[in-house]
């Protein structure tokens, strides 16, 4: 690629050589100079090409990441791995989409009872692409819940929760519960009639539980009644507490997936390869 020349005022530009001012009859020297220049250009290019390699090398020397990455990227997935196996990563992608759109919403959202509703109005009406991003966050939640259920259904019907992946199933169920909690706490934030009263009912339902119920409800409301603190408490739970837990547990979930490997479809049996069979004899 050629780098465009910077705009230089005429006075500073180098004058082209006047005809006849070139050292005459010295063609060989000129050719040698040109070849030398070309050589230096090649060297510079090679050096430039070395830069990313040396940067990666520098990082690798200090982190030792490349064997890890190689093992992760080139690990084998069992024969018969099909589209059903993309549901987990699709859920992860939906979570990432929620995280990104959530960050942008948080830039404009104000979690105080007097301003919350107006800040959402502001996002919809005035912020550039605000309506789209809010729509994406709202429907992304639905998509994520649906994908989690599909992913869980796949795991259930393929018997993928059995030995040695029991623990990963448990982590997955906790992630499901946390996602539901996200949906519940996020519902209040627009602070319109619908979200407010649905949340009041939801918290009352929590309160009706035996033993822990009343305490949980008091914790959510920040007291026995809905107050100004309630909204900011829901906001903090929705954007700090649960996302942190979810991210950590997704890490654990993925670690176990990589460590234990994804299952093969249960209807496939391992073919005894000829050379293996011969070895057995």
């Amino acid at each position: 690629m050629r780098i465009p020349k910077p705009p230089v005022p005429n006075a500073l530009k180098r004058r082209p050589p006047r005809p006849g001012s070139r050292p005459a009859g010295n063609g060989r020297a000129a050719a040698a100079a040109a070849a030398d220049k070309e050589l230096r250009r090649q060297e510079a290019l090679e050096q430039a090409a070395e830069v990313p390699i040396s940067v990666v090398g520098w990082l690798d020397e200090r982190t030792g990441a490349s064997p890890f990455l190689r093992a992760m990227l080139y690990r084998k997935t069992p024969r018969g791995t099909n589209w059903y196996y993309t549901l987990g990563s699709a859920t992860l992608f939906a979570f990432l989409s929620q995280a990104v759109t959530g960050v942008f919403l948080a830039m404009y959202y104000d979690p105080s009872p007097s301003n919350a509703y107006n800040s959402v109005r502001h996002i919809i009406n005035e912020v550039w692409l605000g309506e789209l991003v809010r729509g994406m966050h709202r429907w992304g939640a639905t998509v994520m819940v649906v994908l989690i259920f599909l992913h869980m259904g796949r795991t259930f019907f393929f018997g993928a929760y059995k030995y040695p992946r029991e623990l990963n199933w448990v982590v997955g169920v906790v992630l499901l519960i946390l996602t539901m909690a996200m949906a519940f706490t996020g519902y209040l934030l627009p602070f319109d009639q619908r979200s407010f009263w649905a949340t009041v009912v939801g918290v009352n339902i929590n309160a009706s539980g035996p033993l822990l119920g009343p305490y949980l409800a008091d914790f959510l409301r920040a007291g026995p009644e809905f107050t100004a603190t309630t909204l900011s408490r829901f906001y903090a739970i929705h954007m700090l507490l649960i996302p942190g837990l979810i991210a950590a547990l997704i890490g654990a979930h993925l670690y176990l997936v990589v460590k234990l490997g994804t299952t093969a479809p249960p209807w496939l049996k391992a073919e005894k390869r000829r050379e293996l069979a011969r070895e057995e004899i």
């Binding site: 080139y74 690990r75 084998k76 997935t77 069992p78 024969r79 018969g80 791995t81 589209w83 993309t86 990563s89 699709a90 992608f93 939906a94 989409s97 509703y117 109005r121 309506e131 789209l132 729509g135 709202r138 429907w139 998509v143 259904g153 259930f156 019907f157 018997g159 929760y161 059995k162 030995y163 040695p164 992946r165 029991e166 199933w169 448990v170 169920v173 519960i177 519902y187 602070f191 319109d192 009639q193 619908r194 979200s195 407010f196 009263w197 649905a198 009041v200 009912v201 939801g202 339902i205 009706s208 119920g213 809905f226 490997g261 093969a264 209807w267 049996k269 391992a270 390869r273 293996l276």
Partner: protein, 236 residues
């Protein structure tokens, strides 16, 4: 699974794995395609369905009828099915908690070596039953009129009274149009043709046993009370 079965599974799995393809680029390609589809669906839903914002939350009104997000509809429907107040917590907290505990314990309950859904009749049937039950409850919950909402069409001058009736919990015992419970109180859909206006007002103030009296409402807010009586006597 005993030790031998575990050993056998691990051996078979390592053979299946050795016959498979590397994660990159084969699985990564599929995952990327899926991610694009997910993003496209989210954007399409955002553009087509939008995100409505209702009127601002007002803690002083009690007439507003809450509706949960659709994936909580099955809980909502459980609440409608289970009526007696003494066991409501079974619907609200008991059933979900038990379901979640069972879900967490699933791998410790079902420890057989078989993985093919066709050869695990109990697990597969249970799974399909749960999905069907949840789908049924979700659909019922979606179609059900929210408690405290009256779909009956009335002339605009009775709308205020309708709101009072909807928010006063009449439908806990009375049917009004399609909404509400059939008992123990009588059907109010045509109450105006059975009782004159005065009789309705008298019943509201001085009702028969389980029904609460509306005398307090008449004292505090006579206009609201009148609107309620007007609405009820308009039901012919």
């Amino acid at each position: 699974m005993d030790a031998r079965q575990k050993e056998q599974y691990l051996r078979e799995y390592s053979i299946m794995k050795s016959e498979g393809k590397p994660f990159f680029p084969y699985a990564v390609l599929k995952d990327s395609v899926m991610a694009c589809i997910v993003l496209a669906v989210i954007i399409l839903m955002a553009v087509i369905l939008g995100a409505e914002l209702g009127p601002k939350a007002d803690p002083t009104t009690t007439s507003y009828v809450p509706r949960p997000e659709w994936y909580f509809f099955f809980l909502f429907e459980l609440l409608r099915i289970i009526k007696p107040p003494s066991i409501v917590f079974i619907a609200t907290v008991g059933v979900p908690t038990v379901c979640m505990i069972l879900l967490i314990l699933l791998p410790f309950i079902d420890r057989g070596p078989e993985r093919n859904p066709l050869r695990r009749p109990i697990a597969t049937t249970a799974g399909i039953t749960v999905i069907a039950a949840m789908a049924y409850l979700t659909i019922e919950g979606a179609l059900a009129e929210a408690p405290g909402q009256i779909s009956l069409k009335v002339p605009p001058r009775y709308e205020a009274g309708k709101l009072v009736a909807a928010s006063s919990g009449c439908q806990g015992c009375h049917k009004i149009g399609e909404a509400g419970n059939a008992g123990p109180g009588p059907d109010l859909t045509h109450i105006g043709s059975r009782l004159p206006r005065q009789a309705i007002a008298r019943t509201l103030i001085n009702p028969t046993a389980p029904m609460p009296s509306f005398a307090a409402l008449k004292q505090q807010d006579p206009q609201k009370f009148n609107e309620l009586v007007n609405f009820l006597s308009s039901l012919r």
